[in-house]
């Protein structure tokens, strides 16, 4: 049984209310930070913890905070990225819906460290009802004096607001998010300048994922060094994993980093194995943009070592035989799944979500979707596999923001590991959609 630091109280009745959250030790990190620590000491603890951004990129949070420019007389902002949209990822939604005060507590403690008098929680528009839950929690926090003027008599004042988006995956990219928060189209900005220097309204800004901000609370409570003892190497602490697909027990699990992938998929404590007695075929381990891996490579590295749920182990072998922990969106596919059709749903997604600023992404995603559609229609040629490879290679690294990579990587990985499936369809001139046919009736039989 792994330790849980974020959602250990998720089943406690009323934990969404301030009263119950507080009774279970809530807001103690705010007390500790504001009463006994300087802002720099809070940042130091986060540095010591080894916490890495939980949104997908895995950048060290303490380091990101230390980049924040602090010119005299200029406002600084903390912005929470709650624009969770990476296919396969629903952990932030779970955390905000079940324990909204965990996010707000993290916002206050983090804002104290950064010297931010105002913070925004930018939440995807589709999660409107979650925004209501957060707004309710913020109102409770104001009423109890955790937000507003002179919190706990410390002299630190803070305001926190929710902003809903309008439905655009690209706003999960931090500069697109800032554009959107300013009431504009979600077009990513050219960097530099980075948000730490010129972010929201041109002011120094830190943008952190929901889970990252919530993780600051246990880090301050237990101390960065204690937190860093959990996990392996540079993958410290716990991580929320959103498990979905053909597993017996889909849902959000908090794991200690370092858990073997095999245990995560097959143990009763987590996914509970593959549904309907089927065999495992492939896993997308960190949200749609990370490379898909076949069974033999997701359970063990190319060197034959057990694959672990860490940034390093999942990345072992680079993109040739490895993948990424990413956002922790863990999609499991059984033996009947068509990798080609799954890829089509990903590529259609990226085509739909491309903001259109950079032509390699705007045109390339649409082109890839069209070529993949030919496979589903049974009209593809064998040479179309090479064409797909060519297109993805011309998107990667040639765009302002990482959506280009996010769209290219799944295509490259599917071809790298499952080229035979593409060739088989092209040879037969027919796509047998066994993976999907009557799936629903089977599931709910």
């Amino acid at each position: 049984m792994g330790r849980k630091l974020l959602i250990h109280n998720d089943k406690v009745p009323g934990i969404n209310t301030l009263e119950v959250y507080r009774a279970h030790g809530g807001y103690s990190s705010v007390e500790k930070a504001l009463k006994t620590m300087t802002p720099d000491q809070v940042t130091d603890e986060v540095k010591k913890s080894g916490l890495r951004g939980r949104g997908g990129a895995g950048f060290p949070t303490g380091l990101k905070w230390s980049f924040l420019a602090k010119p005299e007389g200029v406002a600084r902002y903390l912005v929470c990225n709650a624009d969770e949209s990476e296919p396969g990822t629903f952990k932030d939604r779970y955390l905000m819906e079940k324990i909204p005060h965990a996010l707000i507590e993290g916002m206050i403690t983090s804002s104290y460290a950064l010297g931010a008098k105002r913070s925004y929680i930018y939440i995807r528009g589709e999660y409107f009802y979650v925004a209501r839950i957060i707004e309710q929690a913020i109102a409770e926090a104001y009423a109890a004096g955790w937000l507003g003027e002179n919190i706990l008599g410390s002299g630190f004042s803070h305001d926190c607001c929710v902003q809903v988006g309008g439905g655009a995956y690209i706003c999960g990219e931090e500069t697109a998010l800032l554009e959107s928060l300013e009431g504009k189209r979600g077009n990513p900005r050219i960097k530099p300048p980075f948000p730490a220097v010129a972010g929201l309204y041109g002011c120094p800004t830190v943008v952190n994922n929901v889970e990252t901000i919530a993780a600051v609370c246990p880090i301050i409570n237990m101390g960065g060094e204690e937190y860093a003892k959990i996990g392996i190497g540079k993958s410290t602490g716990t991580k929320l994993i959103s498990a979905s697909g053909h597993i017996n027990k889909p849902g959000v699990y908090e794991i200690e980093l370092g858990l073997p992938v095999e245990e995560f998929i097959f143990s009763e404590e987590y996914c509970g194995g593959i549904r309907n007695g089927k065999k495992l075929k492939a896993v997308v381990a960190g949200g749609s943009s990370v490379p898909i891996l076949p069974t033999e490579l997701i359970l063990k590295t190319a060197k034959g070592e057990p694959r672990l749920m860490t940034y390093e182990s999942l990345g072992d072998g680079g993109f040739i035989t490895g993948t990424m922990l990413g956002s922790g969106g863990f999609i499991v596919m059984d033996e009947d799944t068509s990798i080609v059709k799954n890829l089509f749903t990903f590529t259609r997604f990226y085509h739909h979500e491309s903001c259109g600023q950079c032509s390699p992404c705007r045109e390339g995603t649409g082109w890839m979707e069209k070529v993949l559609k030919k496979f589903l229609d049974g009209t593809a040629e064998e040479s179309d596999v090479d064409l797909l490879w060519d297109i993805q290679s011309k998107i990667e690294g040639k765009t302002i923001c990482p959506l280009g990579e996010a769209a290219a990587w799944p295509v490259a990985a599917a071809i790298r590991h499952f080229k035979h499936e593409f060739l088989e369809i092209a040879k037969k001139k027919k796509f047998d959609d066994v993976s999907h046919y009557n799936r629903l009736n089977k599931i709910h039989a």
């Binding site: 925004y120 589709e126 009802y129 997604f349 999907h436 629903l440």
Partner: protein, 193 residues
Amino acid sequence: MGAQVHGTQEFNKSKRAGIKFSDDAMQTVQKIISNYPEGKQKSALLPVLHIAQAEFGGWLSAETMDYVAAVLNIKPIEVFEVASFYTMYNLKPVGKCVLEVCQTSSCWLNGAEDILKYIEKKLGIKVGETTKDGMFTLKTAECLGSCGTAPMLQCGASYHENLTYEKVDKILNDYKAEGKQKNYTDLDYKNTL
């Protein structure tokens, strides 16, 4: 589409005559504007467009967008370029209930296509169409963050998850019986698991 026709202020004023936020909505709008520093009221645009869409028939006409521009003291084109970028804003009239069926990976793996076909057959419309009685518009959506409870559909603020054909029957019957326009901003969302 709409907001290209600014230019003649008089024309827009006359067409705008019937478009005005209710007192409650205006209060919410003012509260949202106060969330941002002075002079940064444009930040309120996305949330205010959601309110406008809910208030004025479930979609954003050129007149509605012009009205929002006036309320926020920004140019009409600034409203249109945003409204046309984000998927949640409807720039054409829609049915009272917009059914958005998620179709990305995890939902597809769990039978989203079957759900979509079932709804198409049941309502007698294709994706992108509206039923003759104006009750339902059917859409597909990209990942709505409900992968562990797939397949799913969103209608207004409500998430309907772990869908089966029987659940779809009930959801559609309930919406039809209620007969009300469903908005993202609704406070009385009814999620079903």
